[in-house]
């Protein structure tokens, strides 16, 4: 469904954020992208919807090559790619409903969005999604009054209102407490399964990635150094991805892993 062929990204003349990366993600697969800070995880997923322009290489979504699409066609492709962010990226001063509806901006014209006249079907879908993510009674609340977990649920509803085929998720749990983090990861993977979406999740938390992903890709300095099952991720492999550290204890609890990874 999604195929990357030799995608690279060069910032300026010195920093090569991505060395040629080739990757194929079939429909319905939940793929966790792990790696140290600065390994190129964020750059890689942003290349897929071209929030960051890849320097070279090709990206195929279904049968369409998207790295050279003109602005209008690019916007049409972006409608089919949902994105969820670390700091939620909600518009703080708008209500929950307005934030969720922004997922359908691509399919209404400027005046419809200015006057917030979204089609009735869209509004019905938004209500259903808010119900599904567990926030039915917060429709009219302003986004800046919500807690972190609630905000991320709004972010998930916004992304899913796009009816995407592919979900790009950038560090969804990094700003959340361990319990909320699990709930959010569970929600994302459940929704992906219900709708048969392909998902790429950037994530720092290795045990969480192992718990929820079907496939793990390890990135180091812009190169793929691991691509396999969650079970195959041994201390040896973790050393490959993150560098030398005592990984044998790290897998017991999440908090220790965080310390180990950050160190």
């Amino acid at each position: 469904m999604l195929r990357l062929e030799n995608v690279t990204k060069q910032y300026g003349s010195r920093l090569q954020a991505l060395h040629p990366i080739s990757l194929e993600v079939p429909a319905g697969q939940v793929l966790a992208l792990i790696g140290a800070s600065g390994a190129g995880k964020s750059t890689l997923i942003r290349c897929i919807n071209r929030l960051v322009e890849p320097t070279t290489g090709q990206i195929w979504l279904h049968q369409q090559e998207i790295t050279r699409l003109p602005p209008k066609a690019l916007r049409r492709v972006r409608r089919k790619i949902g994105m969820i962010f670390q700091e939620y990226a909600l518009i703080e001063r708008l209500t929950v409903m307005e934030n969720v509806l922004s997922g359908q901006l691509g399919s209404v014209n400027f005046w419809q969005s200015w006057l917030r006249r979204f089609p009735p079907a869209t509004i019905t879908a938004a209500f259903e999604l808010l119900e599904r993510v567990g926030l039915p009674e917060l429709v009219d609340r302003r986004a800046d009054t919500l807690s972190g977990g609630q905000r991320q649920r709004v972010g998930i509803a916004r992304a899913l209102l796009q009816n995407p085929n592919l979900l790009l998720v950038d560090e969804p749990t990094a700003s959340l407490d361990p319990k909320t983090a699990r709930q959010i990861m569970r929600l994302i993977t459940e929704l992906a399964e219900e709708r048969g979406l392909a998902v790429i999740i950037n994530i720092h938390d290795v045990p969480l990635a192992q718990m929820f992903a079907q496939r793990i890709v390890g990135l180091k300095a812009g190169q793929i150094v691991y691509d396999g099952t969650p079970q195959g991720l041994t201390p040896n492999e973790l050393t490959q991805i993150y560098g030398e550290e005592d990984w044998s204890h790290a897998r017991d609890s999440e908090s220790e892993t965080k310390v180990a990874v950050d160190a």
Partner: protein, 270 residues
Amino acid sequence: MPVSVVRGQKVWQRRDRATALKHWLGWIVGVCLLIGCGRIIAGATNWSFVWDAPRQGSEFLGRLFPPQWSYMVELGRPLWDTLNMATLGTLISIGIALPIAVLTARNTTPHPLLRSLGLLIIVVSRSINSLIWALLLVAILGPGVLAGVLAIALRSIGFVGKLFYEAIEEVNPAPIEAITATGASPAQILSYAILPQVLPSLVGVSVFRWDINLRESTVIGLVGAGGLGLQLDAAVNALQWSQASVIFLVILLLVLLSEAISARVRRAIT
């Protein structure tokens, strides 16, 4: 280095010797300059006028009082003109400054050349005081309220535009990224991701400028642009000090009122 070793102990000081000396030197030069300038100014002052000032001042105050309250009736129209000049001028400047701000802000400008053009307009508008704008416009359009409105507007474009574009540059980029990722058009990104973020500053800046403009529009009448200033000019020229004092009081009340309104509006917008 502020860290030195004295008898095996590490000692930290805010500044090392050389920097401390430079600071002292700076202070000495500054104080000398102050005294020198003071002497020059004192030498150029006609002190007999200064010693005479209290008597002149009290006589002047005596001429102001008692205010000629009946004159208040004639001030209705100029007061209305002043209010209109400030309000219309501010509205026009907002209408013009908003697109300029979008073209000028680093994160929304379509092209660096347009950004330079926007900055140029803002600098030109800001560098000319509204009194001078009014002088020019009265010469071109003739005296009256229209010249006043335009003078206020032209001066405000720079002020409002500068603060608007700075507000746009300070928005959180994450929501912009998120809205872009949904496939929204540039106009939708501007209205859905950027406008809600800058709205409180837009309203705050606009009301603040309106507040300033009320005061300025009482002054620009002095050069013929209508309103209370015109009345004040007439009263002073006719040596009608008891009328001038009424105008002063009206201006004071007007400013207090605008102060109260703008404070309330800014508090309401969060």
